[in-house]
């Protein structure tokens, strides 16, 4: 069968939708809704009676303007998600009392509106964007992702120039890198790679930005080496506009100059990670080199069909081995001079399997292998975000589209969404990726990695098997990716069902991980202090208990006690100081007691206030929930007490520790007995 040339683009596709003056003015009109929403939120917050409402309104107003502003640029007309998002966010702010619930609702609505805008944009024009269009897609997309993942940088009292630069400059650079990567690797791969890189820190950090920039540079240089600027992946119509442009021959010298400049920039981008952080930056540079695969002395020039040529594997392995050697050399050098190297090959592998579990079934094995080796050799400097480059490289090894790509995409989307939400107000988790993975009920580690990788790999294998069965009667075996053209009903069915199956499996896993419903004991906050040092209650009958059970002594079955609390004026306490004793009594009089300790089970509510930070002796644990107070994020903490012996209890008492300073107080937000 002779391959037919691409049909000429139709007139409607060649008219950019942003040409008219009205559309430019329309761009301004689009920004009105986010600005008005921010104004409505800030105005309401600043006039509310609750003292913390003003700062919270200012923060959430700014966050709203930022996220919806990004959505405003992204959303195709009629941009219903933008308008409704603005109204619903404002309504949520007006309707709910100040505090974590209001923050959670606003954040969730903002994320939903942004995701809707991005999805619609990608569905309508995502892969057909021209160069300018790609920038108008990826730069606001990167900015929006940054606002969601690192939204706390928008908190005005804590805002610094460095943070502002991280908030604005890094995503712009990242957006350019993503646009370049998508142009040559395909939209799906680029977004999966971005998701893999961004969940680590989370958000655009210098490490993740430079990693993606290096990969984009490698990809660009590779296309240049091939003598073609067309995308390596046949993305729908991506290269057609350039080739079909009538002005192309006339502009050739100018284009050549620009191409040379672009090559210089790309080489600079390849070197930038090393310049920034030599101990870890070389991994990003090496990943870029793996994509580039520059012609080495003595090696033959590239095969005209590089994707199917076996030599590329050898090149990639060689480069990765060189990288490993470099890692070993650096390690020895660091050991010689006593500098810590932070090499964690096991953890890196676990993270690779958790974030890109589909890398075991790649369509570009050489990239997957290189990513694996680089991940093993990556030092976690400054932190695990150094793994952004190998993880993104592993994502580039996956199928570009089709049902085989679906499981990884569903997983990446879920991971990114969970990370964004848990990184955002009011959760503000220090490690949102681990917290997201923890939602599955398992501790992030080798076991979970095996489970996730196994599930994703099985799903992909089943899909591929279904498609192969459908086609085996009439076609010879082809590369894994091409087996799933929906030419048969079974293949079409697989294409439709695989994403749903992946999503469904994820939902079921999350459902299974949920704890059994407990019995909450508090309807409002209970403050304990010197004047009121204890609180106690008879335990209620569980809801739905039969009358016969209710007629006996009322008791509650419990195996775990969950305590949400915070301390006041406790900055001076030593770590581990006993602050309260919780006792549970059975019907027979026997009781269990548990000591609540500062720094371990609870902490100072104002631990993030600058004066407390400067003078505190107590190191508070990670916060469970945060809320905006007067110029800082106030915190409450959650502690779980697995009872030594589960059973039925009739009475609970909480009493402040005897030697606690008189001004220290304990606020109990909730006590919950779980069966």
């Amino acid at each position: 069968m002779v391959e037919q040339p691409s049909p000429p683009p139709r007139a409607a596709e060649t008219i950019p939708p942003d040409r008219g003056l009205g559309a430019r003015a329309g761009g301004l009109f689009r920004m009105l809704a986010p600005v008005a929403a921010a104004a409505a939120i800030s105005a309401f917050g600043s006039h509310e009676q609750a003292p913390a409402a003003g700062p919270e309104g200012a923060y959430l107003g700014l966050l709203t303007a930022a996220v919806l502003g990004s959505a405003a640029v992204l959303a195709p007309m009629p941009a219903a998600e933008l308008g409704l998002g603005a109204v619903l966010v404002t309504a949520a702010f007006w309707g709910l009392p100040p505090g974590p619930l209001r923050g959670a609702c606003v954040t969730l609505l903002l994320a939903a509106a942004w995701v809707a805008a991005v999805s619609r944009r990608l569905a309508t024009t995502g892969s057909r964007e021209g160069r300018a269009g790609a920038l108008s897609l990826f730069v606001p997309l990167a900015l929006g992702a940054q606002f969601l993942l690192r939204g706390k940088l928008l908190f005005l009292p804590e805002m610094q120039w460095r943070g502002l630069a991280a908030l604005l400059v890094l995503p712009v650079v990242g957006g350019f890198a993503l646009a370049a990567l998508a142009r040559r690797q395909g939209l799906g791969r680029a977004l999966t790679a971005a998701a893999a890189a961004l969940v680590l820190a989370p958000g655009w950090t210098v490490a993740s930005t430079l990693a993606l920039a290096a990969l984009a540079a490698g990809s660009h240089l590779a296309s240049r080496s091939q003598g073609s600027h067309l995308p390596a992946e046949p993305a729908r119509g991506a290269g057609n506009r350039r080739a079909g442009s009538p002005a192309f021959p006339a502009a050739l010298p100018k284009l050549a100059a620009l191409a040379a400049l672009a090559a210089l920039v790309a080489i600079a981008a390849l070197c930038a990670p090393i310049a920034w952080q030599p101990r870890a930056g070389w991994v990003a540079a090496a990943a870029g080199l793996v994509l580039w695969r520059p012609p080495l002395p003595g090696w033959p020039r590239r095969h005209p069909h590089p994707r199917t040529h076996p030599r590329k594997l050898h090149q990639a392995i060689l480069l990765a081995l060189l990288a490993l050697l470099a890692a070993a050399g650096l390690f020895l050098l660091a050991a010689r001079f006593g500098a810590p190297f932070h090499l964690r090959p096991g953890s890196s592998l676990v993270l690779l399997a958790l974030v890109v579990p589909a890398f075991l079934l790649p369509t570009r094995p050489h990239l997957a292998l290189a990513a694996l080796l680089l991940a093993v050799a990556t030092p976690w400097v400054p932190d695990r975000s150094a793994l952004a480059a190998p993880l993104a490289l592993a994502a580039l090894a996956l199928p570009a589209a089709g049902p085989l790509a679906a499981p990884q995409r569903v997983w990446s989307a879920a991971l990114a969404a969970g990370t964004a939400l848990l990184a955002a107000y009011p959760w503000l988790r220090a490690d949102p990726l681990a917290a997201t993975l923890g939602l599955t009920g398992a501790t992030p580690g080798p076991r979970l990695a095996v489970l996730v990788a196994g599930a994703v790999t099985t799903l992909i294998a089943l899909t591929a098997l279904a498609a192969r069965t459908a086609r085996s009667a009439r076609t010879a075996p082809t590369p894994l990716e091409s087996r799933l053209a929906p030419a048969t009903p079974l293949a079409a069915f697989a294409a439709r069902v695989t994403p749903a199956a992946a999503g469904g499996a994820l939902c079921v896993a999350l459902l299974l991980a949920l704890p059994a419903p407990g019995v909450p004991l508090l309807a409002q906050v209970v403050p304990l202090d010197g004047a009121h040092p204890s609180w106690e209650t008879d335990l209620p009958a569980p809801a739905g208990a039969s009358a016969a059970a209710a007629s006996g002594p009322v008791s509650t079955q419990a195996a775990t006690l969950v305590v949400d609390s915070s301390l006041t004026h406790a900055a001076g306490l030593p770590f581990g100081a006993a602050v309260a004793v919780v006792s549970l009594r059975r019907a027979d009089g026997a009781s269990l007691a548990w000591t609540v300790r500062a720094g371990k089970d609870t902490g100072e509510w104002a631990a993030r206030r600058p004066d407390v930070v400067a003078s505190a002796r107590l190191r508070s644990p990670a916060a469970w929930l945060s809320w905006v107070d007067d110029g800082f994020f106030a915190q409450l903490y959650r502690a779980r007490w697995p009872l030594p012996a589960a059973g039925r209890f009739v009475h609970l008492r909480v009493e402040l520790a005897a030697r606690l300073p008189s001004d220290v107080g304990l606020a109990l937000y909730q006590l919950e007995l779980r069966p």
Binding site: I15, L21, L32, A36, E48, M77, V87, P97, G544
Partner: protein, 796 residues
């Protein structure tokens, strides 16, 4: 050789069977396996959810099979993902530790439902074809019915039956289980426990039988309708029957539209969607009110009447042999005779209906005589029965109450404006999108359309009696109770206006009012009790905002219970603004702006039209443009809609600023922004005929009120409306303070008399609140006190 395929009907039956089996299995899962407490507020919603999902899926397949558009897989996937997230949030509430998250999650479920309904309605557009004829598809009944059932568990669990509802349900219970209308044993046994937690006793005016039997003063027709479902499924069964009637009423909107606006099927679908899914109908769908079956009967009769003869003025075509027709007359007479049996006041609808039928049927004298005789006979029978049972032909009402000459024009104006504009009970207050009725009415009158004539003819006698009453707002009920009968016709009245919706102003208006309506609908459904306002001039929503802001917000919104400047400013202002905004910039001096705007968008339109051409047309040859304005206008429409939403949000941003900065002229002392150290409201909130009392606060010795004041000048004169209540023979003094500075003291001389106490003019320190403090001796027993109604501030 093609494989054998079963006939379509068998496949459809199999699909329904599979759906039912799936739904049954799906709803059994939450009962057994989901980690939910038995009293969890979402438990019954999750149990019902699979049924709703299957119903909506079958609706989609049915729609596609009948020629409708298919729903996009991406949209369905997004809805399922959002639904999955909502279910996860329901189950993960303990894990999240966010107390009070139930209502936001319920709003999330509602948003998913609204999204699905919007898409499904759009997909069902081809089912109406190019012209409305005949019987609308069953999809237009099933869709609202499924939506009403979806909200029923949440609403029914979060709001006990109220107003007249418990008595209808108790009567239903008695009819279902005792087979009689005697409620004596039901009150004694506490049968109210079957549908509510709060005990109820006989209502004032309930008849008592010769042997002490307790009957309800409410008619038994509606309870009789509810009996079968109540017997099968208890309270939820009865409420599901009401939901079915409400869905049928929505369906009747489309059926009636073929008489009035047959050439605008797309716009009729939008009007139908407003009637079915914008409040107030969804609010009534899960409650027991006679207005829903009465409206259904009235619309059935009207439809049959309009079928009697072709209507030449509207150009509508009715089925062949329309004149006469025994079935139609049966429907007309049946509805007209049943209406007074539902509630006697609906006789005021029966009369005009029969008169209209006579007019359309050829105006024969013999027919008139027969119809008049029928109505009079029925009316006389009901009145005589009432006289026999209650000793009063009008049950608890009097002839003076229904004598129009007993009411002033102001009472009529206040009642009529209240039915539409009142922030607590009015149609526009609860559902702002209905403000489009204002330009729609002007347009219909301008064109000489027959709809306003029919509407006026049907509703005029009814409104003459209802509007000036002290209880014009409908008593203890959701908004727009008494005029609910007209809702389908009001929806149809929007159709000609919606046909002229291309201009930017119309789009902006629809964007702003639609968004506000959606938000309010979310509030009314997630907090069902908030539609049950007390007739004291306050609303739960504005009260909540006032308390949060510590400022008088309600003063900017109209109230006919507590008339204020806004009550009289809003109607003319909204008429002017909405009308001008709708036709901007196509009419008037802005016409050139509109042309320039369109020129600017030439490139966008050409690109968008190209996209639109590629997307093609729907089945039945109905172009998508007929519904949504076409892809060519999407850019302009979207921008205008966004501009409308931005304007709405800007107005919202101004509200707290205005509340904090606008000078205080009146302080209603029972409002929530006034901080009270003690006392209680007077009269009691549950009092009947609440509007005949002055709403006030009882301030006793030792108590004080602190009201925020925004100064409007340097000096002010205060006038307090108050009544002294002496319970002890000791002095009583009321101090007026500006913050901590004493302005004046008042010692009342007369008791139980409303007085106006004037203070000043005095200098007013900026930022100081007004404090009213009562003091005096406090011997044992009830203390002296004063009823404080309001303070008028006259700034100099």
């Amino acid at each position: 050789v093609s494989a054998w395929q079963p006939p379509a009907r068998i496949r459809w039956a199999a699909a329904i069977g599979c759906g039912v089996a799936l739904a049954a299995a799906g709803s059994a899962a939450p009962r057994r396996w989901l980690p939910l407490a038995p009293d969890d507020p979402f438990r019954s919603t999750l149990v019902l959810l699979p049924w709703i999902l299957v119903a909506l899926s079958l609706v989609q397949h049915w729609t596609a099979r009948r020629g409708g558009w298919r729903l996009s897989a991406a949209g369905t996937a997004a809805e399922l993902a959002a639904l999955g997230l909502c279910v996860l949030l329901v189950l993960a509430r303990p894990l999240l530790g966010l107390s009070g998250s139930e209502q936001p999650i319920a709003a999330g479920f509602l948003l998913v439902l609204a999204h699905r309904l919007a898409r499904q309605l759009r997909a069902a557009r081809p089912l109406l074809g190019r012209r409305l004829t005949g019987v609308p598809d069953a999809v237009f009944f099933v869709l609202p019915f499924a939506a009403y059932l979806a909200i029923l568990p949440w609403s029914a669990e979060h709001r006990q039956p109220d107003g007249d509802e418990p008595y209808y349900l108790l009567l239903t219970h008695s009819l279902a289980y005792d087979g009689d209308a005697d409620l004596t044993n039901n009150y004694a046994r506490g049968d109210w426990r079957h549908f509510m937690a709060r005990p109820i006793g006989p209502q004032p005016g309930d008849p008592v039988g010769p042997h002490g039997e307790l009957y309800s003063r409410h008619n038994a027709l509606l309870p009789l309708l509810l009996v079968p479902a109540y017997r099968l499924a208890g309270k939820l069964g009865a409420l599901a029957t009401m939901a079915a009637m409400a869905a049928a009423l929505a369906w009747m909107t489309l059926r009636l539209a073929r008489h009035y606006v047959p050439d605008h099927p797309g716009e009729a679908l939008v009007a139908y969607a407003l009637v079915a899914f914008a409040s107030p109908l969804p609010l009534y769908s899960y409650q027991v009110w006679v207005e829903v079956p009465a409206a259904l009967l009235a619309m059935l009769a009207l439809d049959a009447i309009l079928d009697l003869a072709p209507d030449t003025r509207a150009g509508a075509q009715t089925s062949a042999g329309a004149r006469g027709g025994s079935t139609r007359w049966l429907v007309i007479l049946g509805a007209a005779l049943l209406l007074p049996l539902v509630k006697i006041r609906f006789m005021l609808i029966s009369g005009p209906l029969l008169a209209l039928a006579w007019w359309r049927a050829g105006r024969r004298r013999r027919s008139l005589a027969i119809l008049a005789l029928l109505v009079l006979a029925l009316g006389a029978a009901i009145l005589l029965l009432n006289l026999h049972l209650y000793g009063n032909a009008l049950k608890v009402h009097s002839w003076e109450e229904i004598d129009p000459s007993n009411y002033s024009p102001l009472a009529y104006l206040s009642g009529l404006l209240g039915i539409f504009y009142d922030a607590a009970f009015g149609l526009f207050g609860s559902t702002p999108i209905w403000l489009l009725l204002l330009p729609a009415a002007l347009l219909l009158l301008w064109r000489g359309h027959q709809l306003p004539v029919h509407l006026g003819f049907l509703m005029f006698p009814y409104l003459v009696i209802v509007a000036p009453r002290g209880e014009w707002y409908g008593g203890w009920s959701p908004p727009f109770r008494y005029a609910l009968l007209a809702l389908p016709l009001l929806g149809i009245a929007l159709v000609p206006l919606l046909a002229e919706r291309r201009q930017a102003g119309a789009r902006a208006l629809m964007g702003a009012l639609g968004a506000l309506t959606l938000v309010l609908l979310l509030v009314w459904i997630t907090v069902p009790g908030w539609t049950y306002n007390f007739a004291d001039g306050r609303t739960f929503l504005l009260d909540g905002l006032g308390a949060r802001l510590g400022a008088a917000v309600a003063r900017f919104f109209p109230s006919s219970v507590r008339p204020r400047a806004a009550t009289w400013i809003w109607p003319p202002a909204s008429l002017l603004m909405v009308t001008l905004a709708w036709w901007w910039p196509n009419r008037g001096p802005w016409k050139s702006w509109g042309e320039r705007w369109r020129a600017w968008h030439a490139a966008d339109r050409s690109a968008a039209e190209g996209t639109g051409r590629r997307r093609g047309q729907g089945a039945n040859g109905a172009p998508r443009a007929a519904f949504g304005g076409g892809a060519g206008g999407a850019g302009i429409a979207g921008l205008a809609g966004l501009a409308g939403i931005a304007a709405l949000l800007a107005a919202a941003a101004l509200l707290p600023v205005a509340a904090a900065r606008w000078p205080t002229h009146v302080i209603e002392l029972e409002d929530r922004e006034v901080v009270k150290s003690g006392g209680h409201p007077y009269p009691d909130r549950w009092v009947i005929e609440r509007t005949s009392y002055r709403g006030s606060w009882v301030l006793r010795v030792g108590e004080r009120l602190t009201a925020p004041v925004v100064p409007g000048g340097r000096r002010v004169r205060l006038r307090l409306s108050t009544e002294f209540i002496r319970n002890q023979p000791v002095p009583f003094t009321l101090d007026f303070l500006a913050g901590g500075r004493l302005l004046a003291s008042w010692t009342p001389a007369r008791e139980r008399v409303w007085e106006r106490v004037t203070v000043g003019p005095v200098d007013w320190p900026a930022g100081a609140p007004l404090v009213l403090a009562a003091h005096g001796p406090s011997p044992p027993g009830q203390l002296n006190g004063a009823l404080l109604d309001r303070v008028d501030l006259d700034w100099r």
